[in-house]
């Protein structure tokens, strides 16, 4: 039986746009605009989409690194206790911070250059009650070894490490409080191809050993296919398709996912497909198009797409649940 770890209901993050002498609010950037999502224990959920579609903001909103404007983020503990995170006071959030961690995109800017690795990494341990320095050194040393680095490295400074090593230190930082869920925000995008494979393998190995759940945010769909159990595709702050990772590639329902998949260059001469080239860029989230947000770029758009906003409906492909929001899907909807 699959158990949820997080339930997101109608999560919205709107940033005000200010202008003029008095900094009046003239509009809102609808970065995340009503996302419903369940994350199950022990799964790897991929969150894919182009830049500017709100992936990172959603990841941060879950951890309350940005405050959601509206909606609920429910954390369900192993004993089935539900807690609504968005309404908690800051200090009441602390025990949940321990359970929910994040690995940041850029390993160069996420470590403080004036602290040693141990100096940076010991703070969370201190905060959560590990008083003796020896013990902290032991925990960090063990984790460094778990990510194939040497124990002595904890006394070095970030500039002494390469990008791949720094990303592994970022992973150690996320792991040191023994979290249940890690949000990986483009954790491998900034790395060289060979290093990327090392980090991907490491993430999979750690997941098995420590029984982790990942929310894996990336724009690279070939990585999500390899890594994820389910994939959610976002466009302009909304989820447009959510399904098992295999179904996304074999039974694509939404035209946006289709275009996204066809645009990925495949390193296999036998698998070359025709690119579907989308015109233009992602529209501005301040002033999204009426109707289906994707219709100005959609090759299949019809009249109904220009006026009515499609909702996320449930379909079934290969016997699996498959959610998509498009007017033009020919499958029977299931409730």
């Amino acid at each position: 039986m699959k158990k949820e770890i997080l339930k997101l209901r109608g999560v919205k993050v709107h940033f005000p746009v200010q202008a003029g002498v008095f900094n009046r609010v003239v509009g809102h950037v609808l970065a995340v605009d009503g996302v419903d999502l369940d994350i199950f224990r022990g799964e790897v959920l991929g969150l894919a989409g182009e830049s500017g579609c709100g992936k990172t903001t959603l990841g941060k909103a879950i951890l309350r690194l940005v405050e959601p404007t509206d909606g609920e983020v429910k954390y369900i503990s192993q004993d089935d206790d539900e807690t609504e995170l968005t309404s908690l006071e800051k200090k009441d959030m602390d025990p949940f911070r321990k359970k929910l961690q994040i690995v940041f995109q850029d390993p160069h800017s996420s470590l403080n250059p004036s602290f040693t690795i141990f100096g940076s990494l010991q703070d969370p341990l201190k905060k959560f009650g590990i008083k003796s320095k020896e013990e902290r050194r032991k925990i960090i040393g063990d984790l460094l070894e778990a990510v194939n680095m040497r124990r002595e490295y904890m006394d070095r400074y970030p500039h002494e490490f390469s990008g791949g090593q720094r990303q592994r230190i970022g992973i150690v930082r996320a792991l040191c409080l023994e979290p249940e869920l890690i949000v990986c925000d483009e954790a491998v995008s900034a790395l060289d191809v060979s290093i990327q494979a090392q980090v991907l393998k490491l993430l999979m190995q750690l997941k098995k050993e420590k029984n982790l759940t990942y929310l894996f945010i990336t724009h690279d769909l070939s990585v999500t296919e390899y890594l994820c159990d389910r994939i959610a595709v976002m466009y302009l702050g909304r989820i447009v398709e959510l399904c098992d990772s295999e179904d996304l590639y074999n039974n694509t329902l939404h035209p946006y996912s289709e275009a996204l998949i066809s645009a990925i260059p495949v390193a296999d001469l036998d698998k070359q497909t025709k690119r579907i080239v989308l015109e233009g860029d992602v529209p501005s989230p301040v002033n999204p198009p009426k109707g289906c947000p994707f219709h100005p770029r959609c090759p299949k758009a019809t009249d109904i797409c220009k006026t009515e906003v499609p909702t996320l409906k449930k379909y079934s492909t290969n016997g699996n649940e498959h959610y998509a929001s498009c007017h033009l899907i020919d499958l029977p909807e299931i409730s």
Binding site: D192, Q196, A197, L200, A263, V266, A267, L278, D281
Partner: protein, 337 residues
Amino acid sequence: MEDKNNIALSVRDLKTFFYTNNRCNKAVNGVSFDVEKGKTLCIVGESGCGKSVTAATIMQLLPTLSRIEEGEIKFQKDDKIINIEKLEKNGKEMREIRGSDIAMIFQDPMTALNPVYTVGFQISENLKYHTNLNKKEIREKCISLLNDMGIPLPEKRVDEYPHSYSGGMRQRAMIAMAMACNPKILIADEPTTALDVTIQAQIFELMDKLKKENDTAIILITHDMGVVAELADNVAVMYMGNIVEAGTADDVLRRPTHPYTKALLESVPVLGRGKNQDINPIKGSTPDPYNRPIGCQFAPRCNWQTESCDVMPEITQINETHQVRCHKYEQFFEKYK
């Protein structure tokens, strides 16, 4: 052999060294390749293996602490053959070639465009120096270039500043700038690494069109084997300043004979192969350029390393187009045939 007239640029045994703190970094250490007209040559490799330095050398855009040590770069201009390495860096001849005959697209369009000038001004600079067009014609040409690149409302956009362009549009403006004088060779240094896949597909479509319509030779620098599979006619794989394997896309991607090429291909997940595919990271990381392994540069990371790898392997021609720099290529080739 290829028809001589088809070769737009020919690089032979090129060496570019950097001198800092009394140390010498042999960034490009004996590289040879040819670029044919109307074909795309992809240079692949990890960061720090000398791809971008090779490109900068061809353009003579090297920083002051570096110099071309040896070798020749022969560029065929009309019927003359010009040795680029002999030209003065900022001399008249080099400036004539740079931008008009050989143009370059840089990786990051935000740092490559000047934020205080309009996009139109930056494109027209190129036309001002390399053509005899008057002001009005230059403006018209700019607009038509932007139009060709698929930028909406080019009449209006031409007077806008780079900050009001999106990432993909900036890169297209960069390509417009590079294509302004119909160059014979276009060097694209990771042109789409900073862009989304959907925008990347647009840029590739554009480059394909230019190649077909203008017979432009393209040198595309990338680290993504997927890009190579889609665009390349010829491929050169670089590692630590050397080309370790070169050949047609078919040769290199279907029958990789160098362990490094094979490792690169195996280290990325390929779309459509599902969850069961096996990815093999390359062990370790690229060596410190000041403290290189003796002999074959890839040896310390290679599963096929033997004692013979302490000597730098020579280039071996496997067939007419396919060459490799490895001692063990025969055994390697046999195993993965």
